[in-house]
Symmetry: C2
């Protein structure tokens, strides 16, 4: 019996919802469209992620090697987001003919660096040209004996995140205003670290009920957990691991591109292992909220008042009419 996850709001997700409704049960498909990865019989998980010039990155922001690295890292982040071990990737590189030569070779070097860092191998791909912007679509496959889905959050769960939030979005914020970002912020955007080993460690040490990676912004990604698990989630803004030099809290909530993990677990489950996690990976675990009855995501300020976001996260079709 194939499971079809429920998605949070957003125009991009409306299309996926419509299409997923036409997908029927399939004996080989354990989890269909709507989670970070599809899950196949035998423990294989698979995902794909397209990175488009002028949408996800600009050439003024990243060099060729970083373009390839980042495109691959964000696909591998979806494998981490179900607590699977990455195995193989395929890359479809659609590049302007003027890029042929060193530029595309450098892109592929970045693809290989991201794959190697995650223990995955380049198994195949496609190359073709375009008279438009560069597109690189990366398919990532992994193995998981027990993939952790978005749909497992339970009432009373604590909500946790890894690392810091908002740095990558602050780099984009600076670039879009014609400024050079802080070097650490630039690195967060250009060299995201898919939390592959962290997810496997957490899945091994604790009973993680639900898991997602933060790609579209914390608020939007939590909405997927809330929708898939039929629960409400409350986040306390003053608990968010936001860099102290980040001017705008809302970047940490609605800005994407962090590729940290967000997960839920029973109360008291994570606190005892949080110091060991820091020792192991050099990044913190932060409890940021809790799972309640109801639906949707509420973000409360230090006075318990709801914070209203202009947009919850990155919606690829959000700027159309």
């Amino acid at each position: 019996m194939t499971r079809f996850p429920v998605l949070g709001p957003g125009r991009e997700f409306d299309l996926i919802r419509d299409v997923a409704q036409t997908v029927h049960d399939h004996a080989e498909l354990v989890v269909g469209p709507g989670d970070d990865c599809a899950v196949l019989n035998g423990g294989w998980v698979i995902t794909c992620d397209a990175s488009v010039e002028n949408v996800h990155f600009r050439r003024e922001w990243l060099n060729a090697e970083e373009i390839g690295y980042r495109a691959t890292a964000v696909a591998l982040s979806d494998v981490a987001a179900v607590a699977a071990t990455p195995v193989a990737i395929l890359s479809s590189l659609v590049s302007p003919t003027r890029d042929y030569g060193h530029f595309v070779h450098d892109i592929m070097a970045g693809v290989m660096r991201a794959a190697a860092a995650a223990g995955a191998i380049l198994a195949g791909g496609d190359t073709t040209h375009t008279d438009g912007p560069l597109v690189i679509d990366v398919t990532a496959m992994g193995m998981a004996s027990a993939p952790i889905l978005r749909s497992g959050a339970r009432l009373g769960d604590e909500v946790w995140v890894t690392g810091h939030l908002g740095a990558a979005a602050s780099a984009v914020y600076a670039w879009l205003r014609g400024k050079q970002p802080d070097p650490a912020a630039r690195t967060a955007f250009a060299n995201p670290q898919p939390r592959v080993h962290e997810a496997l460690w957490l899945g091994d040490r604790a009973d993680i009920h639900s898991l997602i990676d933060i790609s579209d912004g914390l608020a939007a990604d939590l909405q997927h957990i809330a929708a898939a698990s039929s629960v409400a989630i409350t986040v306390h803004a003053d608990l968010l691991p936001v860099p102290s030099d980040l001017a705008d809290l809302k970047l940490a909530l609605s800005g994407g591109d962090d590729y940290e993990l967000c997960f839920t677990a029973a109360p008291g489950e994570i606190e005892p292992i949080s110091n060991e996690f820091i020792d192991q990976f050099g990044i913190a675990l932060s409890r940021i909220g809790e799972v309640q009855t109801g639906s949707g995501v509420r973000i409360l300020d230090s006075h318990g008042q709801p914070i209203v976001l202009e947009r919850a996260g990155y919606d690829h079709f959000g700027d159309t009419t």
Copy 2:
């Protein structure tokens, strides 16, 4: 021990060659980049194929549903080309924002039609926008207990193809000259039939030594079999299954987009089952040549003289300097 297939000539393949050289052995990878599919442990095969507006198709040529169908069919053709059973696909749809609405829904309807015809399910994907041409990248997965590769051709083998060649290329030829193609030629281009069931039937009934699908043109694709198998291949032009109304034989040799199968088998292996194949699938099997010592592909006319092609097949980087 991972096998890395040797590719035929072509600038696109030079890039793949360079990248594949940096891929190392991996316990989970049976066949690495360079065949129609990568082969993973446990019998999974996987491939991806990017279809780019103004490169692989034009909006004046295809409607939205056909764009989605064709993009998916050509990826599934690579699964057929290793005699695997299609299981799942993922589609990454990169579309201009003006297409959002009916157009992208129709594209996805075409994706679903192609998947259903091959017995595969849409397991996942990605959607995003672009300020450039539409791109749809389809990943296809299948299962094969004994995948048939490009590298298995043996000296003395006969070379066979399914169906007819050149019709799709003649449609493109007409369009590029401002003419409307013959309806049958248009159908061959817009609705290619991945030979999934034919490949499985052939693999079941006969000892097929090597197999490829004809996507870049017969001459170019045979060069891959020759290179991967360390053999030479001779093709007799007067044996080619070319539609009688096709003016230019060279379209059948160097034009791509047929998505028929080409395979080699021992002398006398295929002839006894060829009538049953026609009865079963309504298309013919044609013996077109033989495998010999040496390297490369020779095409001989009815007088035994070599036919020289200006280009062997479609090279996505062939028009760059």
